[in-house]
């Protein structure tokens, strides 16, 4: 049954859900919403209609309008985006989500009759001022965004010693300018979080400390990381102390600056057939679900920091 019993308001509006093409195998799509741009109560209520009871309850369990709005936008973004990739064969409201064994959210396609979609992977991250959703096909994806100006209350070195690998600790502690050190910390944190989320095993199931993420200068012999150029215009590579095939060489990273205010890290599992390191091909859109999309790759809104084509 189902699709016949229309959400008529929803399907008749021509601007509501324009279909979009799935990313190709080694490509990622990144969609983001700026909460400040979404002011209409009517629109927010439309978004609310997409959510099942449990998600609505979760939104309202958060403290304060700002948090609730952020959570609502995150659910609306993921639901409308996935629905659009299915060329409107499913509605945002009818999508079902479940968690894998380790708690990573994924789409539960079994619930939708007669529809066998391509393998679609997604991951969401949000801050107070930005909500983002990364999408890929065939390969698990993890994203993490952080405000560039985020202040860390504890010493960076105590953080680093606890969560980062030895090499990373050495690198961070060698940076004398506290502001640059803080920025590099945030970049590294987002990369690691993106990795943890791509892996989908949760914090304690992921080898945070035995994994080193660093950038590689163009010359292959040695790499030189100066204070100012750690993650700029260079590949991002991953090394593991454990030398496990499951971990190293299988994950690809990209780091970018979004709308001048955020660092966004994306981690994508590499295709089995494609082991060599290529910069990640990514398309980025600023969006207001049901209202508008703006392709922003190549504009000032998206500045590649590392690992991107």
């Amino acid at each position: 049954m189902r699709m016949q019993c229309l959400d008529t308001k929803f399907f008749t509006s021509s601007t509501s859900l324009a279909p979009i093409q799935l990313p190709s195998r080694m490509e990622t799509h990144l969609w983001y919403v700026i909460p400040n741009e979404v002011k209409s109560e009517q629109l927010l209520n439309k978004y609310l209609e997409f959510l099942p009871k449990s998600e609505k309850e979760h939104v309202f369990s958060l403290r304060g309008d700002e948090l609730q709005k952020g959570a609502l936008l995150a659910r609306a973004l993921v639901r409308t985006t996935i629905a659009r990739y299915q060329i409107n064969q499913v509605s945002p409201r009818s999508l079902k989500f479940r968690k894998n064994i380790h708690g990573k959210p994924e789409v539960d396609w079994q619930q939708i009759e007669d529809w066998h979609p391509q393998q679609l992977h997604f991951n969401i991250s949000h801050t107070k001022s930005l909500v983002a959703c990364g999408v890929s096909t065939h390969n698990p994806i993890g994203i993490d965004i952080e405000e560039k100006e985020r202040k860390i209350k504890h010493s960076i070195s105590s953080f680093a010693k606890r969560y980062f690998s030895q090499q990373e600790v050495q690198l961070l502690c060698s940076i004398s300018d506290p502001e640059i050190q803080r920025q590099e910390f945030i970049k590294l944190w987002t990369l690691k979080e993106a990795y943890v989320k791509a892996l989908g095993r949760g914090f304690s199931g992921s080898p945070f400390q035995t994994l080193t993420i660093r950038s590689v200068a163009d010359s292959k012999e040695s790499f030189h990381l100066s204070e100012s150029s750690s993650f700029e215009n260079s590949d991002i590579v991953v090394e593991s102390l454990e030398d496990s095939a499951n971990l190293t060489g299988d994950w690809q990273f990209a780091l970018l600056e979004l709308v001048g205010s955020h660092y966004a890290a994306i981690c994508l599992r590499k295709d089995c057939a494609n082991k060599c390191s290529h910069p990640m091909k990514m398309s980025v859109w600023r969006t207001i679900p049901l209202v508008e999309d703006e392709y922003v790759s190549g504009t000032d809104s998206v500045i590649a920091v590392g690992g991107l084509m």
């Binding site: 400040n36 927010l44 209520n45 309202f60 403290r63 952080e146």
Partner: protein, 137 residues
Amino acid sequence: MASVTASSVSFAFLSAPTKQSQGLARGLVSLPVKAKSFGPLKLRNAPLRFRVSCAAKPETVEKVCEIVKKQLALPPTTEVSGESKFAALGADSLDTVEIVMGLEEEFGISVEEESAQTIATVQDAADLIEKLCEKKE
């Protein structure tokens, strides 16, 4: 942030659940007591609450609330109690780590990653702190 104020985004006319706290706090058990065998006395419907052992002292809970409020920069009037969930207060993974580090400093303990992962509410944190403090002695 002046352009977006709380009043311009209101979900008031939607049916939002009015209860702030979801269910009982961990460590508390509710038993409805119905005094059927008493004659003319009114039946007592209020649930009795029993503290299951190993719940933390109120002072510990209070301190955790303070640390959480500080880390999340919550206005001092914000109601934070044992039942409060970190995530519901707006804590992300980085905040949670900072909160745990703050608790370690405050109480002189060391929290292992596996344990830190299990902390979802203020009460969880307080209980863990007391457990670790006991171990120290």
